[in-house]
């Protein structure tokens, strides 16, 4: 029925559902910067392998998964027309399990000999992510006519399933519970599904609707919206099979990279054709993110045919991280001010702060500058530098401040402003 579609008074999950995820993600970002800072000055002396594991998983789970799951709780009613009932309790459970799981996992990576920590980490993370998957996919499969976004979101979530399964397998191996014959094979499958399936496909699917909606651009070409996400999924499944059968994956990786390159180029083109003249920071974040995606996929494309240096490999990873974070920041600076205004306005507060009063575009622009410098420094240096690390903390610290400011505006209005009962 129609009342499944779109954000309305009784369907929009409370602001706390989204904010708890966003605040936690920012704190993980701040802590990551501080951890890398201490490593750069040799205050902590973990091995490079442990440092790498801690960094990658703080970013992918503590930061990205928190942002993405929080955003999904909010966006599923708008983009896919599905509603998760009693979202507050469910979001609290997912959030709690995920946060504890990430913390335990990071301790496990830091204190490598403790098997129990690996077991607990895989249990908490598995429960958190599979519960979130169950909540969302259960509703998504009920949709009779899918839009390109709802289809893509469903596929991105589906890609999270093998990511979690193989991730759990790797964690249990690290903990000494099981033994894999070829650890690197499973690792490659795990991160291929995580980065190119879950993260990239979710961003692609969301962009199909929000780029046109936020910036009034021409629609994406039908060939892209109809076939891109499904093709990537099929290629990733084939890639997994080829890896397990020890066949070469060159063509598959190259095709995936080429498809994402085409998508990123079209997105940049669409953004430059936008009818809205405002060049706010969110447009810059999108453009910068897509440029970084192009850089990362170009190196991946070259790397699938030729042996590339570790410096180029590093460039590709940093560019990918920069891409994912840029898009997340672009979304947050639209979502949070809009939702704050939307909820207060619907609750009957006539003096509800407008979007610019919640987070002024100037504040988002400051974040863009910090983010830009941070990514450029990390792209230019192969070692962990104190400056790059500190900039990560400043970047997430600034976001944290903006989110807290928005919450304060929200609670202040509720306490002090006149409310009209509908």
């Amino acid at each position: 029925m129609f009342n499944q579609g779109g954000l309305s008074l009784d369907q929009a999950p409370p602001l706390s559902v989204v904010m708890r995820f966003f605040i936690t993600a920012s704190i993980f970002g701040i802590l990551l910067g501080l951890f890398l800072f201490s490593q750069s000055l040799h205050i902590t002396t973990l091995s490079s392998y442990s440092t790498q594991l801690i960094t990658v998983h703080t970013l992918s789970l503590g930061v990205m998964a928190s942002f993405m799951l929080g955003a999904l709780f909010q966006m599923l009613p708008v983009l896919a027309g599905v509603v998760i009932k009693t979202p507050t309790t469910k979001a609290m459970m997912v959030h709690g399990l995920l946060t504890v799981g990430v913390l335990v996992q990071l301790f496990a990576f830091g204190v490598t000999s403790n098997s129990l920590l690996y077991f607990l980490a895989s249990a908490y993370l598995g429960l958190a992510l599979f519960y979130a998957l169950y909540l969302m996919l259960k509703e998504l499969i009920k949709i009779k006519t899918h839009s390109s976004s709802s289809k893509g979101i469903s596929l991105a979530l589906t890609m999270l399933i093998p990511t979690v399964i193989f991730g759990t397998y790797l964690l249990l191996t690290e903990g000494g519970f099981i033994h894999i014959i070829d650890f690197s094979q499973i690792k490659e499958i795990h991160y291929s599904f995580a980065l190119l399936g879950w993260i990239s496909l979710l961003i692609v699917s969301v962009s199909f609707q929000v780029i046109e909606m936020f910036y009034v651009t021409p629609s994406y070409p039908t060939n892209i919206t109809k076939y891109l996400t499904l093709t990537i999924v099929l290629l990733l499944i084939l890639k997994m099979t080829f890896i397990l059968l020890e066949y070469p994956t060159t063509i598959l990786t190259a095709t995936i990279a080429l498809l994402f390159l085409a998508y990123a180029t079209v997105t940049i083109e669409r953004l430059t054709q936008r009818k809205r003249p405002t060049a706010d920071a969110t447009v810059w974040f999108w453009l910068f993110g897509m440029a970084l995606f192009i850089l990362s996929m170009t190196v991946t494309l070259i790397g699938s045919f030729f042996t590339i240096s570790s410096t180029l490999q590093h460039l590709s990873y940093i560019a990918f991280i920069g891409f994912a974070l840029s898009i997340v920041f672009a979304m947050i600076y639209k979502i949070v001010p809009f939702l704050t205004w939307f909820h207060l306005s619907n609750q009957g507060y006539m003096e509800a702060p407008m979007m610019h009063d919640v987070i002024h575009p100037k504040k988002a622009k400051i974040h863009f500058y910090i983010h830009f410098v941070t990514i450029v420094i990390w792209l230019l240096t192969t070692d962990i530098t104190w400056l790059g690390s500190l900039l990560i903390t400043i970047s997430f610290g600034w976001l944290f401040y903006n989110l807290i400011f928005a919450i304060k505006k929200y609670t202040y209005t509720q306490k002090h402003c006149e409310k009209i009962e509908w």
């Binding site: 779109g6 954000l7 909606m213």
Partner: protein, 146 residues
């Protein structure tokens, strides 16, 4: 798909004028912005009126459903009427920041509203309303004035 096509074209026209007014505001040309904004508000409010006085009653009559989609759309129209009023006030006060801030909320709300209508409600109208009635509804809508 005659309802969908007719109504969708009106949405796109409103988007164009909205963007033009926003551009003039950014350039600080309030006189031009006022003219464009008036055009935007007239077109948008007329579009709402067409839906509320012609399309929605026909849909409700054919389907017998008055509590579903059309009720929600009417509620959202009211929300947007409120924002249009605030935007007019900001233009009158030549308050660039206030205008752009309200315009941001308006744009997201409007696009989301349009998305629901285009993807669901208009398609439902095209399916549920008989062809001759669809043609007469469009003719009626063409005569609606503010």
């Amino acid at each position: 798909m005659i309802i969908s096509n007719y109504m969708r074209a009106e949405h796109r026209e409103c988007d164009e004028i909205f963007a033009a007014a926003e551009k003039s505001i950014i350039e600080g040309d309030f006189e031009q912005a006022e003219r464009q904004f008036l055009l935007f508000s007239e077109d948008t409010l007329t579009h709402f009126k067409k839906e509320e006085e012609a399309l929605f009653p026909t849909f409700e009559e054919v389907t017998g459903n008055t509590e579903g989609p059309t009720r929600m759309m009417r509620y959202e129209h009211e929300q947007m009427r409120g924002l249009i009023g605030k935007m007019a006030e900001a233009i009158e006060n030549q308050d660039k920041d206030a205008y752009l801030s309200i315009a941001e909320s308006m744009m997201i709300l409007l696009q989301q509203h349009n998305m629901k209508e285009e993807q669901m409600l208009y398609a439902m109208c095209d399916r549920a309303i008989p062809q001759d009635k669809k043609e007469s509804v469009i003719e009626t809508m063409k005569t609606v004035e503010l």
